[in-house]
Subunit: 281 residues, 2 copies
C-alpha cells in the first residue's frame, strides 16, 4: 500500500492533477457553441475477499486498496480480529483482493443469506444494523469555531468537485484540521476510503470528526457510528431516521452547514459555543 | 393500486401535506437557539417477487407499489412478458409483494449469481448491462424552449425538497409539460417509482423526457435507456462513462441545467434552438 504523504497540510488531499480521474469531453452549451468540459471518470472495481467475489463498485479509481478495505470493514465482512495479509490491486483487471490469514465464513454466510433474506441488491442491512446496539461513542465536546474553520478549509481546497463536479467528498478531521480528504462518484465510496485509510494506519477514531457533502441518512449515521467516529457534519440535510439513530448511539449530528449557519439535531449539549458572532466564518 | 389523480396540472405532484413524509424535529441552530425543522422520513420497504424476498430499500414511503414494480422492472427481474397478477402493500409489515402469473426463474438465478459473481451488495450490474446492447432509442428532437420551461416549472413546484431537503427528484415530462413528479431519499427510488407508474399505466416512453436532480452517472443513463426514454436532463453534472453510454445508445444527455445555462454532451444534433436569447428562462 502506498505510504502516506503530507500534502497541503493534509495527509491526503484531492489530486486534481491526476489524469486518470477526469477527462475532457466536447459538447455544446446553451447557445449551441462548442464547449469542452472536464468530467469525472467512473470505473468498475471488483472487490474480492480471498477467493470470494463480493461486489463491483463504481468508483473514480483512486485508492482502490483503501476502498476495498474500508468497504469490507464497513459491511462487517472484515472484523477487527481478522489479520490482513495483503491487499492486491490489479489495474488492468480492475480488481482488488483482500487476503486474510484465516478465511472468513463469509462465503457460507452469503449462501445462507440468499435463501433467507435475499441479497441481490442494496446493502446487507441486517448485518450492518447488527453491530449498532453495542456501539457506545465517546462523548467528546466540539467547539463551534472548529466547525466554521473546517467548513472554510474544506470548501476552499482545490478539489475534483470544483474541477469537474459529480463527486461527493468525505473528510476525516481532528479538531479544526482536515486530515484526509476523499472524493468519489459514490458518496459511500468516499467514506469507505476514509475507513480503509484509518484501518491501514491504525488510526484512533475517538477524537475524529467526519465531514461529508452527502445527506445525513440512516446509512451514513450507522456507518459513522460503526467506524467509532463520534461527530458527523454535513452541508446537506437530515432524514428523520438518521436523527433517531444518531441520538440512540450518542453521535453528534450537525447538518445544513453553510456559511455561518448550521443545525444540530443530536448532541447539541456537547457543543462549546466559542465562535463569536461577527467573526469571519 | 390507487387511481391517478390530476393535481396542479400534473398526473402526480409532490404531496407536501402528507404527514407520513416529513416530521418536525427539534434541535439548535448556530446561535444555540432552539429550532424546529421539518426532516424527511426514511423507512424500510422490503420488496418480494412472489415468494422470493429481493431487497430492503430505504424510501420516503409514498407509492410503494410503483417503487416495487419499477425496481423489479429496472433490475430486469420482471420482463415485459411477465403477466402481473397483483401488487400487495402491507403498511404494518413494510412489505410489498409483486405477484406474477408464472413464477420467474429469479430464485434459481440468484443462487447461481452468489457462486459466480457475488451478489452481496450493490446492483446486479451484469444483468442490467445485459439488455443495453439491444437498446435503440427513437431519435426525437428536443426544443430548447422545453428545457427552460420544464426547469422553471419543476423548480417552482412546491416540493418535499423545498419543505425538508434531503430528497432527490425525478420528473417524467412530455414536451414542456411535467407529468409525474416523484421524490425520494434514494435517487434511484425516484426513478423506479416513475418506471412503476409508466408500467402500470401502459405509458409509451418514446415521446418522454426524464428530468433528474441527481448526477448523470452510468447507472442513471443505463436505467433511462432501458426504460426506453430518449432524453435525460439534470441540473447536476456528468461522469465520463455516463456520457460514453449515452452516445452509444443514442440518448440525448443534458446536464448542468441551471438558470439559462446547460451543457449537452450527447445528441446535440437533435436539439432545436427555438429559445431566443433575452427571453425569460
Amino acid at each position: 500500500m502506498p505510504k502516506v504523504e503530507i500534502e497541503s497540510g493534509m495527509n491526503i488531499a484531492p489530486d486534481i492533477s491526476n489524469p486518470r480521474l477526469t477527462r475532457k469531453v466536447t459538447g455544446v452549451d446553451q447557445n449551441g457553441e462548442t464547449q469542452e468540459i472536464a468530467v469525472i471518470e467512473e470505473r468498475p472495481l471488483t472487490i474480492f475477499l480471498n477467493r470470494q467475489e463480493i461486489v463491483t463498485a463504481m468508483t473514480i479509481g483512486d485508492y482502490p486498496e483503501y476502498l476495498a478495505l474500508g468497504f469490507l470493514r464497513n459491511q462487517r465482512m472484515l472484523s477487527e480480529a481478522d489479520e490482513i495479509l495483503g491487499v492486491d490491486y490489479d489495474e488492468e483487471l480492475e480488481t482488488v483482493v483482500v487476503r486474510t490469514a484465516i478465511e472468513t465464513n463469509y462465503e457460507e454466510k452469503l449462501t445462507k443469506k440468499t435463501r433467507t433474506s435475499g441479497c441481490a441488491v442494496g446493502t446487507v442491512f441486517g448485518d450492518i444494523m447488527e453491530g449498532l446496539d453495542a456501539v457506545k461513542l465517546p462523548q467528546i465536546t466540539v467547539q463551534t469555531s472548529w466547525l466554521y474553520e473546517l467548513s472554510k478549509k474544506i470548501n476552499t481546497t482545490p478539489s475534483l468537485y470544483l474541477e469537474a463536479g459529480a463527486v461527493h467528498a468525505t473528510v476525516l478531521c481532528q479538531g479544526d484540521k482536515p486530515l484526509v480528504y476523499m472524493e468519489d462518484v459514490g458518496r459511500h465510496n468516499a467514506v469507505d476510503k476514509i475507513s480503509g485509510w484509518m484501518l491501514s494506519q491504525g488510526q484512533d477514531a475517538n477524537d475524529k470528526i467526519l465531514y461529508t457533502t452527502g445527506r445525513l441518512t440512516s446509512e451514513m449515521v450507522i456507518k459513522t457510528a460503526l467506524m467509532g467516529i463520534p461527530v458527523l457534519v454535513s452541508r446537506s440535510g437530515f432524514t428523520a431516521w438518521g436523527v433517531e439513530l444518531a441520538n440512540q448511539v450518542g453521535l453528534t449530528l450537525i447538518g445544513r452547514m453553510k456559511g455561518k449557519r448550521f443545525t444540530c439535531l443530536s448532541g447539541s449539549d456537547r457543543l462549546i459555543w466559542d465562535h463569536q458572532e461577527g467573526e469571519e466564518g
